[in-house]
């Protein structure tokens, strides 16, 4: 049972060959209704796979619109979902997250070029 439970994590560990950056921000509410953001980042290795046309279509049917999407598998349970993820030159916003059995799988959609990795005011 133990082997089966950790199989996904074991496989993800083997295939985690890409450096990604998790972008977090600490948000402090200000009097004018906006938030002061303090950005912070975490670098880790993960497996990154481009979403196929079929997968994008399935997500669309489920109500999640993804353009130029990727799927990221991380061999650990993230304690907190990041605002965005930077992979290579691109910044991705997280559309869906699944966390179980020491593995985190994030379905991401690429943000337009030039946007900040930290979400503003959210």
């Amino acid at each position: 049972m133990g082997v089966t439970r950790n199989l996904a994590c074991f496989a993800t560990n083997r295939t985690a060959g890409y450096l990604i950056t998790l972008n977090y921000s600490t948000k402090v509410l200000q009097d004018d209704g906006s938030y002061a953001l303090t950005p912070s980042t975490v670098n880790l290795m993960a497996d990154v796979v481009d979403l196929s046309e079929d997968q994008i279509q399935r997500l669309q049917e489920g109500g999640i619109t993804v353009n130029n999407g990727i799927s990221i598998s991380i061999p650990s349970e993230l304690p907190k979902i990041p605002d965005t993820i930077t992979f290579g030159q691109d910044t991705y916003t997280i559309m869906q997250d699944v966390i179980s059995e020491n593995t985190t799988v994030l379905t991401c959609s690429r943000k337009p070029l030039g946007t900040s990795p930290v979400e503003s005011g959210a």
Binding site: D32, P82, E119, G121
Partner: protein, 172 residues
Amino acid sequence: MNVTEKYYAINTALNVYLKSKSITCPVLKYSVDPASAKADKKDNVNNKYPYMQSYFSNIKETSWTSELNGIYTTFDYQISFFTAPDTEYTNDAKLFYPFEVAKNAMGDVQLNLLAGIASIMRKKGHYESSMKSGQLVPAAFIIYSMSAICSYEAIVPVPANATNIDNAIVIN
């Protein structure tokens, strides 16, 4: 202050007043939706109600403007209030207390909360309720029609001969 700065100034005036009355109900800017904040989903931010959200819209300005006179601007400032009772069967009148305080403070002529920011011309609003993830969310909305003199932000050099009408009719 231009019209955007006036929007944030009204938010600040309301938040400072509500804090001074020990009322925990932040007035958030537009685009912030704590009920569906993705990044905070795992942070156990369950006590997000009640909160207010403000918007400004319907901005109308005079067509002729100058730095000397500022810009006479009318705009709508909306407060949306959201709360969540324990069950949908209970009397939730008390939960609307922060909204009533904010509403009355905005219009109070003695308090004059918006001194130097804007003037309220009229207000209108309504109540409604919705279900979010099985949770009843009663909401109240009020829209203030406001007028204000906004600052003129463009830097326009004044022509030398425009200072005196006599210069304009000199024939060289």
